[in-house]
């Protein structure tokens, strides 16, 4: 459960990290959900989302472009959009609510900030999912600054070795911060890796 949960960070660098997820429920409202989910993605992008994704068929790189990805969204998809600004997120949520798509919407981020966003568009918190962190063989975890980047792909597809290699390339002047964040986004098939936050985290490692 929970690929948008367990993002590691401090309250400062998580302040501008939000993931909106939209999906139908199987056998309740999934029929005809594809076009609604397409529209939700378009609303998010218009509102200024940093990234958007389709967790069912893969991200824009995997599908050969953002427009192709949106066109391919089908019933039962789980679509995502990453925001770095609560005002933009609230604008998207307002429009989605007014359109009354009936799709479930989950927002990941600092609980207090997300609650403020809910109130700003006239909704109340319904259900929350809270991370109790990492347990077990925690000696295997990499350093915290690596975890802050790695945990932005909840399926664990952005490897620690790729992050280290990418940071080295930036340090050596072989790659810009923008190129680095796109390189790290690409393995995240759901498109929830926040490239804007990644750039700031990599810059802090220089």
């Amino acid at each position: 459960m929970t690929h948008t949960l367990h993002r590691v960070g401090n309250e400062e660098n998580l302040r501008e990290d939000f993931v909106l997820l939209a999906m139908p429920s199987k056998d309740i409202n999934h029929e005809g959900s594809g076009p609604k989910l397409q529209e939700i993605i378009r609303i998010c992008l218009k509102a200024g989302a940093v990234k958007a994704g389709d967790a069912r068929l893969g991200n824009e790189y995997h599908q050969g472009g953002l427009e192709t990805m949106i066109a391919n969204i089908e019933d039962r998809a789980v679509v995502t959009a990453v925001f770095n600004d609560p005002a933009k997120l609230v604008n998207a949520l307002k429009t989605i609510k007014e359109a009354d798509f009936g799709m479930s919407i989950v927002v990941s981020g600092l609980f207090d900030r997300v609650k403020e966003c809910c109130h700003a568009f006239g909704q109340k918190v319904h259900t929350v999912n809270t991370s109790l962190g990492r347990w077990g063989a925690t000696h295997k975890l990499p350093a915290n600054d690596m975890m802050e980047i790695q945990s932005m792909c909840g399926h664990g597809m952005v490897s620690v070795n790729l992050i280290a290699d990418t940071v080295d390339k930036v340090k050596n002047g072989d790659m810009s911060l923008a190129e680095a964040s796109e390189r790290l986004f690409r393995p995240c098939q759901c498109g929830i890796f926040n490239t804007d936050r990644a750039q700031k985290l990599i810059a802090a490692m220089m």
Binding site: V107, R134, K140, V158, Q189
Partner: protein, 238 residues
Amino acid sequence: MQIDQELCIGCGQCVPYCPVGAISLDETAVVDLDECAECGCCLRCADCPVEAIYQQELEYPRTVRSILSDPLTIATESGISGRGTEEMKTNEVTARFKKGQVGIGIEVGRPVSGARFVDVERIAQAMAAFGVEFEICNPTTSLMSDPATGKFKDELLNEKVLSAILEFCVAQEALPDVLKALKAVAGQVDSVFTVCVACRADEDENIPSYQYLDKAGVWYAPNGKTNVGLGRPLAKEA
């Protein structure tokens, strides 16, 4: 996943992409099949200049690696991509987590180590002692030979996946005891795992599970997932 040794030019471009470090480089790149979780990341993203990476035909029980590691595999049980279920994401229309209950998710192998089912089983058995019912829609549950005890099929115990999720509900009052047992078994496994608790907010938007987490003395994160209640039709209990 495998790399065609006749084609590989040993450039090493694929090596850092593997989430479990299963690709090593000598004169050519080689996949350690015992460690490979069949997630497909190298094939999709490494841009092998000679297209030497290829997906070999998978046979059971190895197919389980792909089902639980490749995020684009659609699980038969849940009908959605990924390793989990709809869980709290659609709770306003399903009422899956009712007031007075909490949903618990234990994702073994996340975020970095990957997991063998011998560890998943160890944790599942500790939780089964509380009489929990593992979520039937979760693909991990279907791999158990006896969900009542948390026993997995023997042929799966050494299979490695990026992560496997144990999902179940308990009464919120049971949360401290369940977490105490989880803490005890945490010292007996070779994998990292994440733990989460899903809970319906009350009318004043308070989260009832927090008092039980405080009672258990367990740390919880200031960030997480919030269902904002826009799904329709609303479930009766929602």
